[in-house]
Structures are given as C-alpha cells and as structure tokens.
Amino acid sequence: MTTSQVARSELFGTTEASPGSHFVKNSRRAGRGIWIATITAYLVTFVVMLPLLWILLLSFRSSDDILSRPFSVSNLTTQNYKTVVDTLNLMLMYRNTFILAVVSVVVGLVVSFMAAFALTRMVFRRRRRRLQKWLRYYFLAGLAVPVYILLFPVYRLDLTFHLFGTYAALILPYIAISIPFNILLLTGFLVEFPEELEQAAIIDGVGLFSLCTRVVLPLMRPVIATLLILNIIYVWNEFPFAVTLINKSSLTTLPLGVSQFQGVWSTDYGAEMAAAALVLVPQLVVFAVFQRQVIEGMTLGAVKG
C-alpha cells in the first residue's frame, strides 16, 4: 500500500482487510459483519467435515452399540481395527496401488515429455511442420474422451495381449489416459523455453539425452510437480478400470478393496468403518502436508483442461 492509498483509506473510513481481500470494508459495519461471516464459515466447514468425523467415530465403536445407541460416545474400543488388521490384507492393497501409481505416473510422464519435446523443440524437416502441429492436436483430442467409453475395448485389448492378472493390464490404460493432459501442460511450457539456453547447450556439444535431462527438465520442476500430483491422485483413486481389469485378489487396489468392504463384513459396521478409516486417514495426512501444491495443481488442471 502506498502512502497515498493509506491516506485515502483513512480519509474515507475504509480499512485494508487482510491482504488480497477484494472487498473494501466499511469499518463501522465491518465489526459485526466479520463476526457473522466467521461464524458462518466455521459452521459450514464443520458440516462439510461431519461425514468424515462421523466415520472416524463409528470406527471406534462396536457394531451392536452403533445399532442400539447410535449417538452414544461411551464404550469406545479399538477392537474394530484389530478385526480389520486380522482379516484384511490392507498392506497388499497399499502395495499394489503404490506400484501402479508410481510406475504408470512416472512412465506416463517420461513418454509424454519425450513427445512434447519433439512436438515443440525439435525440427520436422521440409514440409512436415504441419504434421508437427497436427500430431499435437491428435494428442490433445484425447482430452475429450471420457473413461467409461474405454472400459470394454481396453478389457478386450488386455485379453488379446494376455495381460490379465498383471499390473500392465492397468498401467497401459493409465498411461494412455494421462498423455493428453500431460502433453497439454508440457507443450504449453516448452514452446516458451528460452532458445538461447538450448543453443548454448548444443554448441557445448551435448546430445539429445543430456539436453533433455540436464538442461530442460531441471527448469520444468513446477510443471512436473503439478502433473505428478494430478496423476498420482487419479491413479490412487481410480475405480472403473480397476473393477473391470483386475481378476485376481492378489492385485486388488485400495479403491477396489473399498468396494468390497460391504460384502466382507456385511453387518459389522464398526469394522467396515475402521477399514475405511485406514484408507482415508493416510490419504488425508498426505493431503494435509502437500495441501498447497495439491489444491493449486488440481485447480490449474481443471482450468486448463
């Protein structure tokens, strides 16, 4: 705020709210208004949080207790968690989901980067310029394709390639789905990459590989981080492909496992909720740590996509 702005706000009785607040408050009204706004905001947040809190509460109560006295908070027990750990191989689900997420996201990013680099920085000989442009559109057209239309054809493809019962059955479609958006963001960044840097590196005699890994990639860390986050969240939560393409219990992912909880425990609600909590809480903790990046990444993803 410059001096003149300060002077003006004093003159006209407007006060600077928190930095970035776009409403200029009249200080006389502001006092009560802020209180009402604050209380409303906290109340709404509490209501939004309520389902999650309720699940956590249920997970510490026995199923009989849940049915007979739904709202009592006495008799809390950790028995449900013992039941879950004894009957459910959660570690296996975590391992499967982790492997799928890491492999498909990393490979997806690598191949997308290679293609994006070729589509923006490399030179297509003679009249092929137009081909370069059209290839980019070809990839970007994938943005419009919804997942459900792919389920059955991919199921057939996996059968044809004998991929059923392997991680590859899921990794390949996950990579394919990630490519359009990866290329959208990566090419957006790469077209503006400073040419001087690139030329200097080439004059120094670097090859294509080290140009990419040592010169270009280090400058792209923010874009890469955004894409990593978006893609990992997608694979971590992915259900339609998982339920269609996984036919072995040893490959069960977390979302697929969650879909089976109701069948596994039917009326043991406490155990069901404990299992849900064991999937939910770690994810929320990771979110709490990276919340700024996650929120920014997902918002950017939506606006650009």
Partner: protein, 289 residues
Amino acid sequence: MVWLSRRWQLLLMLAPALLVFSVYLVYPVVYSVFYSFSDYNGVSKPKYVGATNYRAMTHDDVFWSSLRNTMVVLGVALVLLIPLAFLLAVLLSGPIKGAGALRALIFAPAIVAPILVGLIWVFILDPHIGLVNGFLSSLGFAGPQWIGGTSLTPLSVGLVYVWQTLGFVLTIFYAGLKMLPRDVMEASALDGASRWQQLRYVTVPMLQETFGICTVLVITGAFKVFELVYVLTGGGPVHLSDVLVSYMYYVTFRLQNYGYGMALAVVICLLGVVVSLAYLSFLRRRRRA
C-alpha cells in the same frame, strides 16, 4: 536444434507416447463406435445390425430413467453447487481468521476416492443405520428413504456429488476472485454500493468466465458419476436409481450385451459434449446480447 532432429531421434521421442496413446485410447474409441452398430455378446462373432442398438434405446425404460436420474444429479449440482461454492469463496476471501485452513478442509473430500466417498455416505444416508435418519428419529420424525427407495436416490447422489466437489469449485472461484482488480471494488465502495450490490453488480458480472468454467466442469462431472451409485445402491431397486454410466456398465459387463453397451457409451459421451456445447453457446449469445 536441427542437428539434434534426425529422423531416428524424432521417431524415438514420439514413438512411445504415440503407440500407447493410439492403442489404448484412440483405438478403443473407434472400437466402441464400431461395435455400437453390432450385435455382440463376446462369444459368437459380432454381427452388423445398423442403428438397431440406437433405436432400441428409445424403447428402453431403464435408459430413460437413468437419463432422468443423471439429469437430477446434474440439476442438484447446478442449483446447489455453483451458488454455494461461489458464496463460500466470497466468504472465505474475506478477513476471516484461518480462512486458508477452512478452504483446505472443505477441499479435502475432493481428493478422496469416489468409491470411498460413497461408502462413507452409506453411513450417513442409509435409512436404518444412517446418521441423518438416526438424528431425525431421535427427534421423533420418521426419516425418508434417502437411498435404496424408489425416488430419492438421485437427489441423494446429487448431494453427495456436491459434497465431494464443493471445495474444488470453491477454489476455482477463489482464484477468480483474487484476480479481480481492486480498484473496481474500491470505486464501487466509494460510490456507496452496499456489499450485496457490489456482489450482484460488480463481482458476478466480472466473474462470468469463471462461472462458465465451473458450470462446464460440473456438467461433464455429473455425466461421469458412477462409483457413488455403485456403492450407494448398486442401481437398485430394479435399476430405478441407475445413472447413465452405471446402467451402461451393467449392460456391458453384467448382461454382456456389448453392442448395446457400446451404443450407450457413445450416446452418454455425445450427450455430455452436446450439453456442454449448448451451455457454452448460450453463454456466448447472452454476452453478445
């Protein structure tokens, strides 16, 4: 760069992405469209039947009821989600202590797997063990059948969808609000506009584009709802609560009527695109008017 663009280098860089993308995304789309014109059960050879599958849809009551349910979900989302997210974004961009933390908390459901969100809401909405009806009955009311009944399920699915997406849409509005020029706000305040007038005549018109983005996101999102129905009711009773995608999944993978399933998938896909485009052209026409 020309020195590093030999043909084999270009091929090497492009081939992996082109291959995976073409085989696992482009080919499946073509395949779906192709098989939507056939009678195919996976065992005998697919038989070309023209537009029969598409014509069958017009007599298929379940198709129409799932279309209606999808529209209910979309309606609930448009009526509740957009205004609620916008007003909350305005509220949370004000001088509230801990506004950042509140935004993060409201955002949290957006990163939870939809299938898990569905499971969580079973315990909120279930007529017998759910929180809502438990609360109502402790007050002496008999709660309605939120899920599993014949009528309320799509509304409930819409509500759950709103819950999951609220923080996400809120953040987009919030980002839009942050980009509004301050001087316009100051000027309107100096001119004596009340806060409501500012909101109605300055903020909303200036955020038109953001409203457009959010609405298109909500439309495409609502057409994709699948997991919520899968856990909340499984489409029951007798498909009355199915939405388009869950019905398509049932036809394809339970009935193994692949031809009809693919026709449904194509139609859902087109519907999503058409509704979004219709909305966008409506926006453009209104802006010109």
